[in-house]
Amino acid sequence: MIFSVPTRHEELTLLIKVRTYEPQKIRIKVIDAEQPNTAFTDRYRIVEGESIFFVRMPVSPNEALVYVFNEAYGNMQVGEDPSVEVISITKEPLEKKLDVIDFTNPQVRSFVNFATRFSFNAGTLPSGTYTSDDRQFVIKYLPTITDGGMEQTTPARIDIDSGVIEVSKKQFRDFTIPNRMAILLHEFSHVFVNDNIDDEVEADLNALLIYLGLGYPRIEAFEVFAKTFMAAPTEQNKMRYQKIVNFIDNFENYNTFINEQ
């Protein structure tokens, strides 16, 4: 089932209420009706009975398309698949925690604006070099990231010394906007926020603080880190993932500590 929802570029939360009559793997996708390769969420949950999907959207398209379907049968029209029913779609104000973000820091303000615009448009932007309005930040949008001719698995990386970020278009095109934001904020944090530039965990948590404060969905952050760590399941990455899970769980209660002992 595909539903058209006018979102008019507002920041909002979509509440998608669905019903099943036995446990079913239900997938929800929210995409831009106009801009190709632009998704706001792509997730699933096992649903039994009634359940609400909360889709936090700090940025939204003019018109959103909401896909709801049972993974077992694929997308069908209303009435064709009796295993799942959409009860309602509701728009609610977005809950943000901007007080956790240091917006007095002009670099944070500038990068959040730059990263938001880049992430929103990355599905259609041509390869090239992009800069923030104040020309402080640079993203090289490359077809792929390579080292010595070998394609790298990382979706993005930052030159620790120059602050220039390289992004793989091949990988970014398929990411959701929240995924893209989480990655860019991680790279930014390394050089511009961290106490220790080389500390991966500190960059993860500093990025998450900004990401969650802006109101982006928690599930998309789990997803992008999990995807990346699965590609390189080292002990360090397992530890990083556990710290991320704890940090996100505690975020709502303000029990967030970044500095490592």
Partner: protein
Amino acid sequence: MNISKEHLIYAGVGLFVLLVFYSSTKEVELKEVGESDLQEQKEFDSKNLPSNLKPPYKLATGEQIPRPIKRNFNIFSIGKPRFDNDF
């Protein structure tokens, strides 16, 4: 029953709170779209986006890359670039 000015103020505030709550939560009329309708999508034009969502500035070919303000000068920055590859 005597309705005082104070009661009227409380009633007004209560009504205002109810109105705010009602207007902030809005159920969308479910409008289904067929797969075939999606093929008639109109062309995307980024010029129609609000300023906070417009694409960032793309450097022209040959235009010099700005030097971002480095937080710390590092002697090792002279020479081969050092990348964080561990996202």
